[in-house]
């Protein structure tokens, strides 16, 4: 049983890493706030949660696995909330669909 679970966990972790990688590419390549947010959210909902679930068989015992599962649940609740807040703020500040200026000079 355990080797099978570990195998599944490994697959899950690899999937999570792929999601994270995709999120990085998304943040670097997408043009405006909403699309970038869409990509960035994947890093957590897809990437982190899959990695956590994949780590469960390696946690050594039911208690550790349960902890990881709880963390995943919290991510599931908090991540949409946060991205929603960001998207709403952008909407209100009328930043929607405006391409991000990469060479914005900040304050030196």
């Amino acid at each position: 049983m355990t080797p099978l679970l570990r195998f599944l966990g490994g697959i899950s972790i690899f999937a999570g890493v792929f999601f994270s990688f995709a999120a990085v590419v998304a943040i670097l390549r997408f043009p405006d706030v909403y699309t970038r947010l869409h990509g960035g959210t994947k890093a957590l909902s897809g990437g982190a949660i899959l990695i956590l679930l994949g780590a469960m068989p390696y946690a050594g015992g039911i208690a550790g696995a349960l902890k990881l599962f709880l963390i995943a649940v919290f991510f599931l609740v908090s991540n949409p909330m946060a991205s929603h807040a960001i998207a709403r703020a952008c909407h209100r500040r009328a930043l929607a669909n405006r391409p991000i200026d990469e060479k914005r000079r900040g304050d030196v």
Binding site: F74, V77, S78, P80, M81, H84, A85, R88, A89, R92, R93, R104, R105, G106, D107, V108
Partner: protein
């Protein structure tokens, strides 16, 4: 612990630090610094210092970043002319700074190099590791050092927190009090309402099991402060001030300090010294249970009250003159 992993983390720590230093955009550079903090917490965890990792993750990469966001939004920044400082003497341009700091790095590394090699903990540390269970009844050695062997230091540290709160309130007093608007959207509010009890439970578990597991007053108090900050951001300053009034925060903070000193005096009353632990009125209990370790549980509570109320009132003092952009928009 694997060395490649450590090298990888160190590389990213330095990389994020360099990015934080060199980026012109302040917001991005502070986010980068926050990432440095998280990586540092990971390194601490790898170095088998769970207490420190917890504190670093909560305070240095969480609370400090939120404080920065407040300070950033409170300051007006007139863009100064780009490039070098015209009036500055030559040694204040970047080559001079680079020369001095690289020289400093070389000297520092030369000095630290002597320390590399097999390390043998000093006799004090060995004593702590071997005698903690007997002498204090606690399982977490770091908590035992903080709250029993060196409890006086901790008292001094809480005084530092008090001084910081005092100084910040003094500096930022007289600012205009502008109520924030209605906070964030309904979805966030409901989600926050769903999460808050769990975060509070987590904070309480960190705080009250501080003498058994990694954690303690500092970490638990910081998580409590984080909850206050989250409420402040999500529901608006107005709501937060109504629910947890600044007055009651002060009361909590003073109460924490009083509790600490009172426990210390109890030690004297029972014939030990100030802050004496097991010779005081609280029994050692069975190791591993909640009520063990003498007065450590109460001291953790005192420190937690102090830190939580202190940090949240720092945040509140800084944000109370902030006019949130949300206010001017119909919801």
């Amino acid at each position: 612990m694997s060395e490649p992993l450590l090298a990888f983390l160190y590389f990213f720590i330095l990389l994020t630090a360099v990015v934080a230093v060199l980026l012109d955009d302040l917001l991005s550079s502070f986010i980068s610094l926050s990432v440095t903090g998280v990586l540092m917490a990971t390194v601490f965890a790898l170095f088998r210092a769970p207490d420190v990792a917890l504190t670093q993750a909560i305070i240095n990469s969480g609370l400090v970043t939120s404080l920065f966001l407040v300070a950033y939004s409170q300051t007006q920044r007139t863009p100064s002319p780009a490039g070098e400082c015209r009036e500055c003497p030559f040694w204040l341009r970047w080559p001079g700074a680079a020369l001095v700091s690289s020289l400093f790095a070389a000297v520092l590394f030369r000095g630290l190099y002597v320390l590399s090699g097999d390390r043998i903990p000093g006799s004090t540390s060995a004593h702590y590791l071997s005698q903690t269970l007997e002498e204090t009844g606690a399982l977490n050695v770091v908590a035992a050092i903080l709250l029993d062997y060196r409890a006086f230091d901790t008292l001094g540290e809480t005084t530092v927190i008090f001084t910081a709160v005092f100084g910040i309130s003094l500096l930022l007093s007289g600012g205009k009090y502008v109520h924030s608007g209605h906070g964030l959207s309904f979805i966030v509010k409901r989600g926050m309402a769903l999460l808050t009890p769990f975060i509070l439970l987590y904070a309480a578990s960190i705080l009250f099991l501080g003498h058994l597991t990694p954690g303690g007053g500092f970490q638990g108090g910081s998580v409590f402060a984080t909850v206050a900050i989250l409420i402040c951001v999500v529901y608006g300053t107005n709501f937060e001030a109504a629910r947890i009034s600044p007055k009651s925060k002060e009361t909590f903070e003073a109460g924490g300090a009083m509790l600490f000193v009172f426990i210390g005096l109890l030690g004297i009353a029972w014939g030990g010294g100030f802050l004496a632990n097991l010779s005081g009125p609280f029994p050692a209990g069975t190791p591993g249970s909640l009520f063990s370790g003498g007065n450590m549980l109460l001291l953790n509570l005192a420190v937690g009250m102090k830190v939580g109320a202190g940090l949240s009132s720092i945040f509140y003092t800084m944000i109370k003159i902030l006019e949130l952009e949300d206010d001017s928009w119909p919801s």
